[in-house]
């Protein structure tokens, strides 16, 4: 059974149709890459799968682990194991990252997290991402630089251990070293059971990752699906080279 199955999905924002009939299947353990020009609806797809109320699903179905989650609330989806990293993570003043993550994981797992053990685990993961432990005690994303916010999103991924993670342009605005760190984080996270969908314009975040499928979005749907070689063609010849022949 597919981990995620999207059937004929139609999504609108403020009455404007952005996606009109998207089909997508992701199996456990797979890494998919989502590409497309700016504004074609890549983030819309991710937000709709996460259940963002500002996106209206006008038709179609989203199945996760075989279960229809088209009408589920975002927190229900998170508890089932879906995660998305935000392009622009929100700042939450007065709530430390540690406190937030402990609350979040407690909500997802339905257990009370042990404070000391949780902190230890958090620090380990921060080390892996080259983050100063002081960030655990800072208010969530408040005053973080763009790069720090992106790393913090990956830290959340590592702590929450979802079954399916969407990484929406996590590499944008990052320097070369930071992109490497993020890729290391993704490798650290990925295993045979969980899946990733990576939205990117840049192949370097994928270095060393075993990409199963690449999808190109345009004209409100998935125009083309292929293997990793699609990325190189796009980077060399532009989007038209892979979409016009369809």
């Amino acid at each position: 059974m597919a981990l995620l199955e999207i059937k004929n999905l139609k999504v609108a924002v403020e009455d404007k149709t952005i996606l009109n009939g998207v089909d997508l299947k992701i199996e456990p353990g797979e890494i998919h890459v989502l590409m497309g020009q700016n504004g074609v609806g890549k983030s819309t797809l991710v937000s709709a799968v996460m259940g963002d109320p500002s996106y209206e699903v006008e038709g179609g179905q989203i199945l996760f682990d075989g279960e229809d989650i088209t009408d589920a609330s975002p927190d229900e989806r998170a508890r089932k194991g879906i995660f998305m990293s935000f392009q622009n993570p929100l700042e939450i003043p007065g709530v430390t990252m540690e406190n937030f993550l402990r609350t979040a994981r407690g909500s997802i797992r339905g257990t009370k997290e042990k404070i000391v053990a949780f902190r230890r685990e958090l620090e380990e993961k921060m080390d892996a991402l080259g983050m100063d432990h002081a960030y655990a005690d800072r208010y969530l994303n408040v005053g973080f630089s763009g790069g720090e916010k992106k790393k913090a999103e990956i830290l959340q991924l590592l702590m929450l251990q979802p079954k399916l993670a969407f990484l929406d342009e996590t590499d944008s605005g990052l320097d070369v070293d930071a992109v490497k760190t993020v890729t290391e984080g993704i490798k650290h996270f990925h295993n045979k059971e969980n899946s990733l969908v990576i939205i990117t314009h840049n192949a370097s975040i994928l270095d060393g990752l075993d990409v199963d499928k690449v999808h190109v979005i345009g004209k409100c749907k998935i125009l083309r699906t292929g293997d990793r070689s699609l990325i190189d063609r796009i980077n060399e010849f532009g989007y038209a080279s892979v979409t016009e022949e369809v």
Binding site: M50, G51, D52, P53, S54, S73, P74, D75, R77, A78, R79, F83, M84, F86, P89, L90, E91, I92, P93, G94, V95, F100, T103, A104, R105, S107, I108, Y139, Q156, L160
Partner: protein
């Protein structure tokens, strides 16, 4: 985090924790209303000294001569003819919990008072309706010369002259109508005296519980801290909810000696039929510091603006407050400060939250006299409104009489954004939990100023207010 319109709503609250009622079983209760007869009866019941009886009657005259203030939230639901101004609980005041009558003891146990005393307090006073039922202070604190007792005993004890010469001198009955009311019918409250050079390392706490329906509570807290000393005083208050108006018109007077520091923390959680018209004032001598920490959660209507008089040079005040107004509540809170000494400074930082049509107003007055050169004042207020029905107003007043000053005012009003809620929900938090977390974060800078147990209580109160918890 602010900006986007907030559409969802949070359920009504449950305050079972504070809302239990004891059967009304007083030792003595006066008729409702405010007449000379009632005032004389209270005075007789309390075995006042003659000067106090005169003082009360004079205050009653003042009360009758003053008008009800019209500048604040409406208080027409408060009819003094229906208010019972004195209810004496059963039993005598004691320094032993065992001696406190069973039902009253249970009340304070439910509120966690004796437990906190054992854990983290240097002394505790507990008032039930009009009288203090329990007062105790740790031996080692007493040995430092600290006096912490009910004010009635203090008025007749070794320091009677000192108490008399300070009683209602900072807030005279002529100050406003409810100060006059207080002068006429005051009962209960605490007296604290900290000698020169003594630092009271752990806090003292007084807790005020009003159980009788339709009654008023008029406790008087008088704190005198001599030079080079330190005190942290905590005040807590709560009451069960009734369908008729209750009134709280207490007075707090604090005298702070040279280079002394007093921190006064309050968590007020009156029930939502309470008119809370409280007066608090501190007089600060040279180099002294007053720190107010104030959490206002309950009451139907509040008028609460602790005032600091920075009399001595280099004296300072800090006010940190949070107000949470829900359905049917109008909480008008803030602070006043008068800079009289040179190089004095004041910092006022407040947060307010309003929800379900609640109104939360911030009112401040900063006055800098001609003499108070090189004074500084900074006022910052932030409001968070959780829906379209709620209201928040900011009314800052400055009266600056010299040019060598540095003053600032900053006000922010916002809403919880849908984006922030979605962000947290995408991490598994329910919508209510997401909102509670955001509101808790908003309140955090205040919470960290509170003693730990009170910070926990405040967080619980926010959670209570944010989610209809199960009784």
């Amino acid at each position: 985090m602010f900006e986007v319109e907030e559409k969802t709503r949070v359920d009504a609250i449950d305050r079972t924790l504070y809302d239990f009622k004891d059967k009304l079983d007083p030792a003595m209760i006066v008729n409702s209303g405010l007449t000379e007869k009632v005032v004389r009866q209270i005075s007789l019941e309390k075995e006042d000294l003659e000067w106090m009886t005169e003082f009360r009657l004079e205050a009653l005259k003042t009360y009758n001569s003053l008008d009800i203030p019209t500048w604040g939230p409406p208080i027409d639901g408060l009819d003094m003819d229906n208010i019972i101004t004195y209810v004496r609980p059963k039993g005598e005041m004691s320094a032993k919990w065992e001696d406190v009558p069973e039902d009253i003891k249970n009340t304070f146990e439910k509120l966690g008072i004796p437990q906190s005393e054992r854990l983290s307090l240097a002394g505790v006073g507990a008032q039930y309706d009009s009288e203090i039922v329990y007062h105790n202070v740790r031996k080692e604190v007493e040995a430092q010369g600290v006096i912490y007792t009910d004010i009635e005993s203090a008025l007749k004890g070794d320091m009677a002259d000192v108490v008399r010469s300070h009683f209602m001198k900072l807030i005279p009955p002529t100050d406003h109508k409810f100060a006059a009311l207080h002068g006429a019918v005051w009962s209960g409250g605490s007296f604290v005296y900290v000698p020169k050079g003594v630092s009271v390392e752990i806090p003292l706490q007084s807790y005020f519980r009003l159980n009788a329906p339709g009654a008023g509570q008029f406790e008087h807290t008088l704190i005198i801290v001599e030079d080079d000393a330190y005190l942290h005083f905590i005040e807590g208050c709560s009451a069960p909810k009734y369908n008729i108006a209750n009134l709280h018109a207490g007075c707090v007077e604090i005298f702070i000696g040279k280079n002394s520091r007093v921190r006064y923390s309050t968590i007020e959680n009156w029930s939502k039929n309470m008119y809370n018209l409280n007066s608090k004032r501190a007089l600060v001598e040279e180099g002294g510091i007053i720190e107010w920490v104030s959490g206002s959660f309950g009451s139907h209507t509040s008028y609460l603006y602790p005032m600091s008089i920075l009399k001595g040079d280099n004296s300072r005040m800090e006010y940190t407050g949070i107000t949470f107004a829900g359905e049917g509540q109008e909480l008008d809170t803030g602070a006043k400060v008068i800079h009289m000494g040179r190089n004095t400074s004041s910092h006022i930082t407040t947060k307010s939250i309003s929800r379900d049509g609640g109104k939360s107003n911030f009112r401040s007055e900063v006055k800098i006299t001609r003499e108070a050169e090189n004074s500084k004042s900074a006022v910052t207020c932030e409001s968070l409104m959780l829906d379209d029905q709620s209201r928040s107003d900011t009314i800052p007043v400055s009266d600056i009489r010299n040019s060598k000053v540095d003053i600032g005012h900053e006000a922010k009003i916002g809403r919880i954004s849908e984006d922030s809620i979605f962000y947290l929900m995408s991490r598994g938090l329910s919508e209510d939990d997401a909102k509670a977390l955001i509101v808790g974060g908003f309140a955090e800078p205040i919470a960290k100023e509170l003693p730990v147990e009170y910070a926990v209580e405040m967080n619980n109160l926010i959670n209570l207010e944010m989610k209809g918890s199960i009784g």
